[in-house]
Structure formats: C-alpha cells, structure tokens
C-alpha cells in the first residue's frame, strides 16, 4: 500500500517536472516580452538592461533550475502585464474557476445520470430518441458557439441573464463567492451550462450504454426472476453497477472542466484562471503562463492520484492481486 502510494507520487513528480520543462521551454517561442514591455522607442541598451533585469540573458539550464526552485515554493514571479505577484493573481482567480467547474460538473451529473437512466430504460420511446439526437449537439458543437448562442438568446433577445462577468461577489476571507448574491447566481447560469453541456451529454450516453449492457446480464435476469420490483432492479442493481465507470469518467472530466474552462471563461469574460491565461498569452506574460500550466498539470496529477487510490480501495481484486504478487 505504502509502496504503491510512493510509486504514484514519484510518477507524479516526474510528470510535473516534464510539464514544468515543457511550459518553461515553450516560452522561448511565444515571443519577446521585452519588446512588449518597453515602448517602441526604447534603445538596444534599454532592451538589454531589461533582459538582464528579468534574467532572460542567462543560460537556459540556469533559468530552468531557478524556475523549478521558485515554482516549488509557489513563487512564479511578477506578472508582466499587471505588475502583481503571479501567485496572488492565481489565488484571486481560483475561486471563480472552481465555482464554475463545480456548478458545471454538478449540472452534468444531476441531469446526465437521470437522462441516461431514462433513455436506457425506454430506449425505443420517441422522447429517448429526441434526447439522444439533441445530445449529439452537445457533443459536436464547439463550446464557444454554444456560449454565443446562449448569450444571443438569453442576454440579447430575452434580456434575462447577463452576457458577461461574474455579477457581485461576496468575500469570505480569501475566497470570493458568487453563490451568495442574486446577480452572482444569475451570472453562473449561462457559463455553467456552456461548460457542462459536453460532460452532461457524455455522462448521459455513458450511463445509457452501461445500463443497456447491465440490463442484459444474468444477475438482472435472476433479480427479475426473484420477483423484485422494477424500481429495485433498475436503481438498486442496474444503476449501481453502472456507476463505477461513471465515477472514473467524472473524476477525469473534472480536470478537463477546469482546464478547458479557458474557452467558456473567454466567451463570458469570466474572471477565472483561464481568462487570465488567455490574456497572458496575448501579452507574452511568461510568469503567468508558466504558473497556469504548472497548476493545471498539478490538478491533473492530483486527480489521477486520487482516482488511482480510489480504485485501490473500491476494487478488492486490485488489492488481492498485488498482495499475491508480492508473496512470490
């Protein structure tokens, strides 16, 4: 057990180093921040001085070593665009992204699972066919298009919901929340639908196909033969057994929701980390880009670690096999 966790953590560290290296080396190709930071009229000497001040003149390996040392301490330097420490900026933006991701993921689960069960049970009903066809839209339409459509309908035509921003937020210590104000809640609706729609349709289709699979198995037939109610068979036996892959996918998708919130955040001017990252790219704001990539890498590594550990606890076979292997 302990060895298993250690191996996993070691692997995570290697992944993080690689992510850090990629993030760091990318910066040699995104452009010259000095050209953007100094006025066009600056002389070569000014540019050189700035380059030295930022440490951009040092050898690559030295720059990378410094980067890793600082990154481990959470120090990513100062944003070239906003003149503020990157860590402070990320901490400020994190709540917005996490709240959005949380609402989008909840939406996907709370709507996706029941719809999946429904279409799985009534697979020939016209309503199921309609839902399945509609779900194709969620899978195939690009996020920004969905966002723009929702804005057009609910903000421009109907005027019910805001087209951008997070509304009023309430500060709870370092955390700012949009859950506690009417405008904040209203502002969450369109972005979370936009962000969660893909996951919603994915979960729905996954649950449906798993349900169809499980309903064909022998133990369901036996359950029916025992005279259990439909309700007990469908929810007590069938749905329960479909949830293992759903949990796995949801866990992994949570990472994607956070990482791919970039598009949704840009469309809705949602002040989260993704928007910060997009603006950083345009300004060649290297420290922010580095920090963001590393943070997203870390989130994925952590989620994978947790999922792996969950398997270990959930699936008894894993434990037995491993114990056996060690015995020989």
């Amino acid at each position: 057990m302990f060895a298993f966790v250690l191996t996993r953590i070691a692997q995570g560290v290697v992944v993080m180093l690689v992510v850090g290296f990629i993030a760091f080396s990318l910066f040699n190709f995104v452009g010259d921040p000095v050209a953007l930071m100094l006025p066009p009229e600056a002389t070569q000497a000014d540019r050189q001085a700035m380059r030295e001040a930022l440490g951009l003149d040092r050898p690559f390996t030295v720059q990378f070593a410094n980067f890793v040392t600082n990154a481990v301490q959470g120090n990513f330097g100062i944003s070239l665009r906003l003149g503020r420490p990157v860590s402070a900026l990320l901490v400020e933006r994190l709540p917005a992204t996490l709240e959005l991701a949380f609402v989008a993921a909840s939406l996907a689960l709370l709507v996706g699972i029941p719809l999946g069960v429904y279409t799985g049970l009534k697979r020939n009903a016209w309503s199921s066919r309609l839902l399945l066809t509609a779900s194709l839209i969620g899978v195939s339409l690009p996020t920004f298009l969905i966002g723009i459509f929702l804005i057009l309908i609910f903000a421009v035509w109907l005027g019910w919901l805001p087209s951008f921003g997070r509304g009023d937020t309430v500060a709870l210590g370092a955390w700012t929340t949009g859950f506690l104000s009417p405008t904040g809640l209203k502002a969450l609706i369109l972005p979370s639908i936009t962000l969660g729609l893909f996951q919603l349709t994915l979960i729905m289709r996954l649950v449906r196909s798993e349900m169809l699979e499980v309903l064909r198995t022998d133990y369901i037939k036996f359950a029916r033969a025992r005279g259990l109610t439909n309700r007990a068979v469908h929810f007590g036996h069938a749905l329960r057994n479909t949830l293992v892959p759903v949990i796995t996918i949801t866990g992994l998708q949570l990472g994607s929701i956070i990482a791919f919130a970039i598009v949704t955040e840009t469309v809705f001017q949602w002040p989260g980390m993704g928007l910060l990252f997009i603006q950083a790219i345009q300004f060649a704001d290297i420290p922010v880009m580095a920090a963001y990539l590393c943070l997203i890498g870390l989130i994925f590594v952590l989620i994978n670690l947790v999922v792996d550990l969950l398997y270990y606890f959930v699936d008894p076979r894993l434990r037995i096999e491993r114990a056996g292997a060690e015995g020989h």
């Binding site: 009229e41 003149g83 903000a155």
Partner: protein, 525 residues
C-alpha cells in the same frame, strides 16, 4: 384597490424624485483588454493613458480637437531657449485633499524621468524642473525644444506627499517581485476619483466634486469592464449591459449601424499603415534574387507602389474603414501637408516597365512579414497586396505572425519587406519623421527605420526641425523631408486607420484621433 393605487402613486413619486435628482449618470464602458496599472508613469499604453487622463492631469492637455490647452498650468512663457516657466493653477487639490503645488510638479517630472518610467519618449530633451515659488515652476531642456508642450500633455502630476507616504517615489520596477501601492491605488487632481479596482473585472471611478474644471457631460460614475471576446462585447452593448464600446469589431459595424439602439461614431485614428523595404543589405535576405538587393533601386520601389491599389484595399479589405493616404502620419499632426497627401494612382503597365528597366522583367520572389493581431485587418491587407504584386510577377511569400513575435523579429531589422503602423502621440510630425526615416543614430533617430532608409538631405531637414522654434520654418522643413522621402518611395503609405466607436443611442461622446474617450465630455440622456 385604493391601497394599491396609493402605493403606486408613492412609488411613482419616489421614482420621479430619483429621476430628477439623478440627472447625473453612470457610464459603463468596455474594450478588449484591461487597464494595466493605475501608476501614471509605468505603462505608456493607449487604454492606460485614457484612464489615467480621468484621474491624473498634466500641466497642459488637449481639447476636443487635440489642440493644446491649459490644465494644471494656467500660463507659460519661455525664459530662455532652454527654460520654460509655468504658472500653476491655484487652489487645486489632490483627491486626498492635499493642495497641488510646484513641489508636486518637480517631483512628478523627476518620477517620469526615472529609469523605470515608461514615459521616456515624452521626456526626451527634458533634464528636470525647479521650483520658483509655490505656484511657479521652470522646466529645463537640453536645447531649444519646439515640442515641449506636446510632450508635457502625457506627463501626469502626482502628489509628492502621497508618493512618499506609500513608498512609490519611482514607477514600478519589474525587477522587484512586489507590486507597488500605486498599481491599484491612485491620487490625482482629475475630474474622477478611483473608487475600486479589480483587475480584468471592473474599475470604478466616481466624480470629483471638487474638480477645478467645468464638466460638460453629466456622468458621475464611470465603470470600466473589459470584455475580451468580440461577440460578447457587442452582445453586452446590444443587451444594454454596457453603454459604450471603444473597439467594436470591424465586421460588425455595418450591422450595428442599422440597429436603432446603437450609435456609431467614426473618425480617423492617429495611426498610419505602410510598407517598408530592406534598403541596406547588399543581398536581399528573404528572396530568390542572389548577389544584389532589388529594393536599393528606386524603380523597384516605385513599381511596388504603382502595383498597390490603396482604394481597392479600402473597399475590398477595410470595408470603407480607412482613409487612403500618400503620407506617413495622420492629418492632425503639425507638419502635415494636404498637397502631399495624395495616394499613388495604380498603374500596372508602368510598374511592369519599371521592373523590367531595373533588370527584373520576370519579377522576383520576396517574403512579406506581416502582423496578424496588431492593426485592423493586417493579415488580410498583406494577402491582398500579395495578390496585387502577383500581377506584376512579383511572387510574395506571406509570413504572418502574432505581434509578440512579429515586433521582436522586425526590430532586429530581420526582414526584407514588412508592414508597420505608426501613431504620433505628440501630434507633431517630427516624431514620425525622426523614428521612421531619419538615418539610425542617437536619441530615437531612426529607431523604427527598420529597412534603414537613408537620405542625407532628409536627415538634414529632420535635424534642423529638432531645434527650430519658428513654426512656419518647421513646417517647411517637414514638407521638404516628406517630399524627398516621397520621391524616393522610402516607404509605401497605405492608409490612416479609421476607428469606429459604438455606443447606446442615448450616449453622446467626443471622438478623438488618439482613440481616447473622456467621460467629462460624455452625455447620457
């Protein structure tokens, strides 16, 4: 029933009372990017200067027509060729209540001169300031400086006491890992006071009721919210969530013009787009021509100019949002001459003949470097020009890049043929002439002369302009430099950019060529 009526009546009267009291309005506006900092000397960037202008004030400023008018200085006179004396406006107070005096001017000039200041272009030739008495200050220059006043319009005044109190005596230095107090706090003398600032989300300014000037508009609160996505920004305007958009996307302008809820205000921008050539290498770098550089031959440059139809670019690429030109800077600049501002007439036959005379009867190949996110339709313009040049058998390879990589490349003179847009923040032609066509030298000479165009006669005229205090003589010198440059086809000017502003039809604003909206002139019905 009567009760409801009573309530209705009461509500109505309350609303009326508010309506009458609330003569003043909130202006909610937006553009793509956010303000970078509140420090008035840290970032010389368009939007940043626009917002700084609401909070901080310079000694002299520009009016609706970009003419210079008094601001914190009420009058000025030249004491000797290198000293200008300013009388300061009495009884002006900073937002924190401290009075504005000569000490603050001396301090602010020194702060703008600091190495970490981003405003060095406006400080060129200025060596410092000295206090004469509380309301008199002298600004000292290295030599006679005919553009001192235009330069000073961008040098905003801070309070010395406030800066000392908060340790912001110098503009932010990127070497330090900490943000400074002035990044998110402000204390100026201007018509609006910074109320709150949340980067990338919202910046709120409120009216300064103690402001010395006269408010022509009725705005008492200004809310700036950046919206990066073009579609969302326009949607926010249409849904009434914002009142004013500084940068509506060009492709939406025709549609917005038809919407009765929206007003579009158009005017030329103080920015001119042109092409430049490598005129110094002995062998053209990115071309199939070996052993020589065709752009050194004026006939080749002429042929290129004759092949490019700027009016077609206006209608086909810019959707009418450009003003074709024959000069290198906007009409608002001093030194502009209408007689020279004639766009070249395209003449393909002559262009081909000139190419043949120069020894390229079958044309040649060259790479055109072009930005793709800096100027309006920049990449599309380059594509169209490549097609036009193909008609005189010049094969253009287009190399389009984002601004971050583009400018790093061309500023190293690593280009054979490039696009550039130049604005003149001083509204004085010297700024453009010196940067773009003066032979590379000291103090800003030729710092954006990326193809190294060089003509001693042009240099002489530009150098004379630097110290010539007589307006008529300066204008003659500018005309001389421009005429020679035009005959040399040193660059190929395309057009002045046109910048549309979009606003709710209830809003009226004053459009300026420097793309700066000022809420003091905004009226909301």
């Amino acid at each position: 029933m009567p009760a409801t009526t009573l309530i209705r009546a009461a509500t109505l009267s309350v609303l009326l009372a508010f309506g009458l009291a609330a003569e003043a309005k909130t202006l909610r506006w937006s553009s793509q990017g956010d303000i970078l900092t509140m420090d008035p000397h840290a970032q010389n960037e368009g939007l940043n200067n626009t917002v700084s202008d609401h909070i901080y004030e310079p000694l002299v400023t520009r009016d609706k027509n970009l003419k210079i008018e008094p601001a914190l200085a009420v009058s000025w006179k030249s004491i000797n060729p290198t000293t200008m004396q300013f009388k300061l406006r009495p009884n002006v107070k900073f937002h924190d209540g401290t009075p504005f005096t000569a000490d603050d001017v001396v301090f602010s000039i020194e702060r703008a001169l600091a190495p970490t200041s981003n405003f060095s272009p406006y400080m060129q030739g200025i060596t410092g300031a000295r206090k004469v008495d509380d309301l008199t200050v002298e600004i000292v220059t290295k030599g006679p400086n005919p553009v001192l006043l235009p330069q000073l319009t961008e040098v905003r005044m801070m309070s010395r006491a406030w800066a000392n109190k908060h340790g912001v005596q110098r503009p932010q230095d990127y070497k330090n890992k900490e943000e400074t107090y002035a990044v998110r706090n402000a204390n100026g003398t201007g018509p609006f006071i910074l109320k709150s600032r949340e980067a990338d989300v919202k910046t709120v300014l409120v009216l300064n009721s103690n402001w010395w000037g006269k408010m022509e508009g009725n705005v008492n609160e200004v809310v700036y919210q950046p919206i990066k996505q073009d579609g969302t920004r326009v949607a926010a305007l249409l849904s009434g969530e914002v009142d004013f958009v500084l940068d509506p996307p060009p492709q939406d302008i025709p549609r917005l013009k038809k919407d009765p809820k929206v007003r579009i205000l158009e005017g030329n921008e103080n920015r001119t787009i042109f092409f430049g050539f490598d005129q110094w290498r002995d062998e053209l770098q990115y071309s199939n021509v070996k052993g020589k550089n065709p752009f050194k031959d004026v006939r080749v440059r002429q042929a290129f100019q004759l092949a490019i139809d700027v009016n077609a670019l206006r209608t086909q690429v810019m959707r009418g949002l450009s003003i074709p030109t024959g000069v290198m800077f906007a009409p608002q600049s001093d030194g502009y001459d209408k007689s020279l501002d004639v766009a070249a007439k395209p003449d393909r036959a002559r262009a081909k003949k000139l190419l043949a005379d120069a020894g390229y009867p079958n044309g040649f190949e060259v790479t055109l470097d072009c930005p793709n996110n800096r100027y309006i339709n920049d990449e599309k313009l380059c594509q169209a020009v490549a097609a036009m040049l193909a008609q005189i058998d010049v094969k253009v390879k287009l190399n389009a890049m984002p601004r971050a990589t583009y400018f790093a490349k061309i500023q190293k003179h690593d280009t054979s043929f490039y696009m550039l847009g130049w604005g003149v923040p001083t509204f004085d032609s010297l700024y453009a002439l010196q940067s773009l066509m003066r032979t590379i030298g000291q103090g800003g000479d030729g710092n954006f002369n990326l193809g190294k165009y060089s003509n001693p006669k042009v240099d002489a005229a530009i150098d004379a302009m630097k110290t010539e205090m007589d307006l008529a003589k300066r204008r003659a010198l500018a005309k001389e430099a421009l005429t020679i440059h035009k005959n040399d086809v040193g660059h190929i000017p395309l057009h002045h950019q046109v910048i549309p502003w979009a606003m709710r039809s209830s809003v009226s604003a004053v459009h300026r060529a420097d793309n700066r909206m000022h809420a003091k002139w905004v009226k909301i019905d």
